[in-house]
């Protein structure tokens, strides 16, 4: 198995994790669905980062950059209209564990430079977005 295949195989992990998330979004309770939406953009960001490395196209990281900015925005829009922003340990820990576990190996593979700075930026944005949108007590005070 070549290294690029390895990265793509790694991308399969967050991609497959999207399957149960889809189930929760389609059939879960309102809070669950919002958690699912949040988790989807986080996992999609990780898939995109790994796929970019697997295809050897650093410019594909722009797609992950846009996800890391717009994903939490989408979640907050839903939160405002649904009046819930559920506290979710799942999202928080997926972000705190999954993002470094993805971004740091990618940084090692990329080597220092602008591409690495962009990777770190995307990682920080993904973590910040997920932590804020899954924060404890965020539920009170969010009204339309």
């Amino acid at each position: 198995m070549s290294t690029s295949d390895g990265w793509l195989a790694a991308a399969l992990v967050p991609l497959l994790a999207l399957v149960p998330v889809l189930w929760r979004i389609a059939y879960g309770s309102p809070g669950d669905r919002l958690i699912g939406q949040n988790l989807t953009s986080l996992l999609a960001g990780l898939v995109l980062l790994l796929a970019a490395q697997g295809f050897h196209r650093t410019s594909y990281n722009d797609v992950a950059l846009v996800v890391s900015v717009l994903g939490p925005t989408g979640t907050l829009i839903y939160a405002r209209f649904l009046d819930v922003l559920p506290d979710s340990r799942l999202v928080r820990w997926t972000a705190l564990v999954g993002v470094p576990a993805t971004v740091l190996p990618l940084c090692v593979a990329t080597g220092p430079g602008r591409a690495m700075a962009k990777l770190l930026l995307i990682g920080v944005l993904l973590i910040a977005g997920s932590v804020v949108t899954s924060g404890r007590g965020a539920r009170e005070g969010v009204t339309a």
Binding site: S29, P30, G31, S59, Y60, D62, V63, L65, V66, V69, L70, P72, T73, L76, I77, A79, R80, L82, D83, V84, L85, L125, A128, G129, V132, T133, G135, G137, A138, R139, E140, G141, V142, T143, A144
Partner: protein, 266 residues
Amino acid sequence: MSPRVRLWVFLVGAAGFAALFAAACLDLPAFGTVPHPYGVRAVHAALSHHTANVIASVNFDLRAFDTLGEESILFSAVIGTVVLLRQARDEHRKDPEPATVHPPVRRFALLTLPFALLVGLYVIAHGQISPGGGFQGGVVAATALHLLYIAADYRALERVRPLTLYEIGEAAGEAAYVITGLAAVLAGSAFLANVLPFGTLATLSSGGTAMVLNAAVGLEVTSGIVVLLARFLDQAVEIEEPGEGGGSPRDTRDSGGNGDDERERA
């Protein structure tokens, strides 16, 4: 038409479509194989015009006229929305109530706003170099402005969003595209031909008119989406129809608590 007949009509249609679709699929070239002749020529044309992103070259150089059509679709769609969602004579406007937002959400949204705006501008500016371009970046930039609605409320967004300016920006973007095309005619070439110097490959100023047209589309899309969302927000937050049960939509639900029930009931 009774449900039974409707089902039969659907089944016949679906069966016909399935047969034709399967027949068409059998004649397709194999998945992900030989380079397409058009692809080879497009890449060649893009590189000869110093445009690193071949898609941008196809959009703004080889098929710039198609893109003018697409831009005009968005332009006229936004105008249509503005006309349809205008304030009618018997509707009245009320001030949107201030919303309370959880402090971390407010901080996060306010911090992300300039950042998202920057990402949008970056995607527009690098259209001819890396994936993205005027449309994609324009939508991101327009979304970024609406983080202010998330961070505070609609009134805060209205205060920093001079709508007239965006309406002018939309028209200017569309006009800039046409004018660039006409300028090529004045320069003795065809409409929308790439007559500018091509610049150095993979720099911000590369691509000749592709870069200019990309920027024009970026301006048009950013302004267009802002105007579009403004109409929707006006309708949902400010404009009240006659007889609409007094006050705001916020009165109908308790904050936070039973928002879920409210949704389930519907």
